[in-house]
């Protein structure tokens, strides 16, 4: 019987939403939330003996401390296998799942697998050796996400040889020596011939795909510059006139800040669904620093604050959408003579 330990966040543990995201690591015996589905999928081959739980904000704000506490808890559970998530497209949860899977495998030598969407920033843990299986972007795909997570976990725990191409996990950047059927020269020439003939071929050395952006040149003198404020924190005028979605935003909006010396509570509010907004709504300048930016403008530290701020909700919003929003924002502010932007992110 395989002793499986499952990692989930406060939300999937059923303990609460963003108001509980500060929850410290803790352990519950037996399966919780999606762990119950894992338990039924195990069909007698094993048992979800315990569930590790940690709040997403707690983890993201002190990942090392969170990992250390989770490692202490996991160590006592004598796990044969650790499964984390699925985290879908949730950034903080994905970060936690990836790190927990990496920690279990690398530090405690417990076979461990995490599941998350391939665009989740948590996939960076794969480069540090974590096994990560891709899944859908929302919890609607829970049923499809769990079987591959469990299947890879069982195979890993059995000690079988694995490869990303066969077993469907994200490449970990590890090269293994294998015996090929043909010498390298023949394989290379075959690839060239295939390429010339327009036939498909697979390179043996995939190039890393970094989407690195060449930094924009700096502003020579910020005192001469017009600066725009941009945010993904979901700060909108009260009532959310443009109906920006609290998650998976389909659009952004721009609102006038001309003449405003700060954001007044009650007149502006956040509609972001991915964090607890109470502290921000009590003083929206905590999300977009209009009060201080205006004072810096008056003091001549910048020439001018652009008359509008731009806002959307960065909560499960696809990378493609966010890129499109930013391109549109860029084209407007460039036309209006803005030289630099300050972007606040939650």
């Amino acid at each position: 019987m395989l002793r499986v330990v499952h990692y989930v966040n406060q939300f999937f543990a059923g303990l609460g939403g963003e108001e509980k995201a500060d929850l410290k690591p803790e352990v519950r015996s037996g399966p919780v939330g999606p762990g119950r589905l894992l338990q039924s999928l195990l069909q007698g081959k094993g048992e979800v003996v315990a569930t590790l739980i940690c709040g997403d904000t707690y983890f993201a704000e002190q990942p090392e401390e969170a990992c250390r506490r989770l490692a202490d808890l996991l160590f006592t559970l004598k796990a044969d296998l650790m499964l984390a998530g699925p985290a879908f497209a949730s950034g903080r949860y994905g970060l936690a799942c990836g790190e927990v899977a990496r920690m279990a495998l690398n530090e405690l030598t417990i076979p461990a697998v995490a599941a998350m969407h391939h665009e989740n920033p948590g996939v960076q843990a794969a480069a540090a050796g974590a096994y990560i299986v891709p899944c859908g972007s929302s919890a609607a795909s829970m049923k499809e996400a769990l079987p591959p997570l469990l299947a890879l976990g069982i195979k890993l725990a059995s000690g079988s040889a694995l490869s990303p191409n066969v077993d469907g996990y994200l490449p970990r950047g590890i090269r293994k020596n294998v015996t090929a059927d043909l010498p390298a020269a023949v394989r290379a020439v075959n690839m060239v011939l295939a390429k010339i003939a327009g036939r498909p071929f697979t390179s043996e050395i995939p190039l890393p795909q970094f989407d690195r952006v060449t930094p924009a040149p700096p502003v020579p003198d910020i005192r001469q510059a017009t600066v725009a404020l941009v945010t993904e924190s979901g700060l909108v005028p009260a009532g959310n006139p443009d109906r920006i979605e609290s998650s998976r935003a389909s659009h952004f909006a721009r609102y006038s800040i001309g003449g405003l010396r700060g954001f007044a509570p009650g007149e502006f509010e956040s509609v972001h669904g991915g964090y607890s907004t109470d502290l921000a709504n009590a003083d929206p300048n905590r999300l977009v620093p209009l009060d201080v930016a205006r004072r810096l403008e008056e003091a001549g530290r910048i020439a001018r604050l652009y008359d509008y701020y731009f806002t959307t909700v960065g909560n499960g919003t696809s990378v493609q959408k966010a890129q499109a929003f930013a391109r549109e924002i860029a084209s407007e502010i460039r036309r209006s003579g803005v030289q630099a932007a300050i972007l606040t992110a939650t």
Binding site: T57, A60, E61, Q62, G91, R92, L95, P121, Q124, D211, R212, V213, T214, P215, A216, P217, P218, V219, P220, D221, I222, A225, V227, V230, E232, Y275, S276, L279, A280, A282, D283, N285, R286, L287, V288, P289, V292, A293, R295, L296, R301, A322, Q323, F325, A326, R327, I329, A330, S331, I333, R334, V338, Q339, A340, A341, I342, L343, T344, A345, T346
Partner: protein, 85 residues
């Protein structure tokens, strides 16, 4: 979004709390803040101190916008160990 703005030639200071994610995705000018729920605030401080801290944060952001960088770079607005959670 910060990357796209930079790609379009607009230097952009990204003020956020989860710096490892910002660096992993490749934001070029990152200014660390004190909490996920309040990128330009610190509710643990009295109002005047919070505003003073916000001003230091923005001055750091302005410095980042004036600074030539060759790739993802962190511009700390405070000494190590000070404040934060």
């Amino acid at each position: 979004m910060a990357k796209e703005l930079e790609r379009e030639g607009i230097p952009t200071a990204l003020l956020c709390n989860i710096v490892p994610i910002a660096l992993a995705v490749g934001a070029n000018r990152v200014v660390p803040t004190r909490g996920i729920q309040y990128p330009t605030g610190d509710p643990s401080l009295p109002r005047e101190q919070e505003e003073a801290w916000r001003e230091r944060l923005l001055l750091t952001a302005l410095k980042a916008l004036e600074t030539e960088v060759s790739g993802p770079t962190v511009f700390p607005s405070e000494e190590r160990g000070e404040g934060g959670r």
